[in-house]
């Protein structure tokens, strides 16, 4: 159980790292949203799943199960809310007239 939890958490940290690199290196608002929206969602999901499993490491008691259930409900909340927030920001950028980045001479 502990091994799986640690593996999940390392995977989550990996996705957070890639999302941060994308956020820093991508050229404009939309591509950064692309990195942050997906990478952060998956990273947080994997981290929380790992924490929920790790919490059950000492054996299944009712209290530990309840805490794990709360962690899982946070994961579900993030899974629904984070892409919606990214969508809202992207839509606001489109409505405000932000042009997508292109290579020099390329068509938008």
């Amino acid at each position: 159980m502990s091994t799986v939890a640690i593996f999940l958490m390392i995977a989550g940290v990996f996705f957070f790292t890639t999302a941060t690199i994308g956020l820093l290196r991508f050229p404009d608002c939309y591509t950064r949203m692309h990195a942050a929206g997906k990478g952060d969602t998956l990273g947080a999901l994997l981290l929380l799943l790992g924490l929920a499993l790790y919490n059950l490491n000492d054996g299944f008691s009712l209290a530990a199960l309840l805490v794990s259930l709360k962690i899982l409900s946070i994961a579900v909340f993030i899974f629904v809310a984070n892409p919606t927030a990214s969508h809202a920001i992207a839509k606001a950028a489109i409505d405000a007239g932000v042009r997508p980045w292109t290579r020099k001479g390329g068509k938008p």
């Binding site: 909340f77 629904v80 809310a81 919606t84 809202a88 839509k91 409505d95």
Partner: protein, 152 residues
Amino acid sequence: MIKRNEDIIIQTVTRLLTPFVQLFALYVIAHGHYSPGGGFQGGCILAASFILMAVANDVAFVKRRLPERLTTALISAGVLIYAGIGLACLMLGANFLDYGILHRVLPVDAVKARALATLGVEIGVGITVMAVMVSIFLNLLSAGRHEEGAVE
């Protein structure tokens, strides 16, 4: 005027999440004396759910559910609950908000009366904070005119 933006994804997710946000707010209010939280924090979360509604739809959407007259009444009602519990303690001969004395009028012992009165005070604070936050937000968002929800 910024044009009114309707978006089915944001509105649907808001409609889905709002009950859970409000349930969590009530949990924070009711559980305030066992875990982090309390009336102020719970009231802020409750107000955030209404602010989410106002952002996803428009000001009129929230004002239909929570009119100005109702928020004003709720602000006063919350303060009245808080001060009423405090003054009830004063009437019974203890200090202001000294809940233990309330076991004389409630059918429970002093410890239980203390817990119950704390919950009552938290509920009063929560109602006031929620109504004040929503009122301030609606006034700021529409520059005091309570129209569609856009600033020129």
